[in-house]
Symmetry: C2
Subunit: 211 residues, 2 copies
Amino acid sequence: MIIIHHLNNSRSQRILWLLEELGADYEIKFYQRNEINRAPPELKQAHPLGKSPIIEDGNFKIAESGAAVDYLIRTYGGGKFMPAIGTDSYERYNEWMHYAEGSAMVPLLMKLFTSLLGEGGEPIQPIIDAEIDLHLGYMESQLGDNLFFVGDDLTGADIMLTFIVEAAESRIGLKNYPKLEAYAARMHDRPAYQRGLEKGGPYELIRTRKD
Amino acid sequence: MIIIHHLNNSRSQRILWLLEELGADYEIKFYQRNEINRAPPELKQAHPLGKSPIIEDGNFKIAESGAAVDYLIRTYGGGKFMPAIGTDSYERYNEWMHYAEGSAMVPLLMKLFTSLLGEGGEPIQPIIDAEIDLHLGYMESQLGDNLFFVGDDLTGADIMLTFIVEAAESRIGLKNYPKLEAYAARMHDRPAYQRGLEKGGPYELIRTRKD
């Protein structure tokens, strides 16, 4: 049985979505952010980094989103949700899998952290905002008129990148990126996404289109 | 022929090291940081993100370190430098590959950027320093007395993580992490690492032990 250590309003929501897409059996262990929005110390009992998501499967434990998504797809996807290894599409998939947290998420995290500084953080906001624009513009142009980031069906790349788009929407809005905005709405309409939301509890990183 | 778009003092040094370990034929296109330490605009002609490393191989282009390292190893490694897909060791390898830039590098980048703020950035330095300590302590404990991060030989995980250790050494020092310090020294002693350094030109993220 797969166990997912799930922190509210975190990257682990993407794992719940994926597990629902996979139709996998899993158990959720719930953790709540504390009053200063940090993960609670109990997560350190699950893994020394004390971050979420953490997945366990048998004796195996993974605490890094990209690796966890890739592992679950290879193990439980039955060939779906990723291109075959050795194809050009696979390399593109793998690049997006690394790009999501390794590049695109970084300036969004900087925005979040430096916002804690108030006026003291203002001098670097233009640099951070330019970086965010660079990445959103790149994703927008690469997505183009496609329904998914790789090929004609959902892959792990979409699971990874949807969270980035959600984080961008909650922090700076997506009015300059209509393709990404429509993409996020399509992902949110998926029944498995909705089931993941119900399982995970309140999630403040998406706006419903009724807002 | 593999082409590597190489920016001085950047993550692309790790690609030169890997290419030397692989014994691959490759061509370097050199780019120099400008007077404010940013990548020059010419890199945007190679890839819209304008960052380094960028590798090209035939019609294929990858602009994300973890994906580039993994691609080169799968394509030119002849089975070396990574565990077989499907093994527990492979999952560990894949997790480190994602962890390096997706987690460990993030607070080091925050340290670099918020240092530009001077006094204005001081309130969040304790949070950033605690994050850096968390990750270095984790890497130190996971490495333990092993010579490499996965198995008994060099893998892509070492290529990825050595750069993190170098960045940590240049920004905060490694006196609290003797295993990581010794590990970096071992990696730096490798003939392929040295050849990569010679090919790439001056690299300020490592200190020789004579310093």
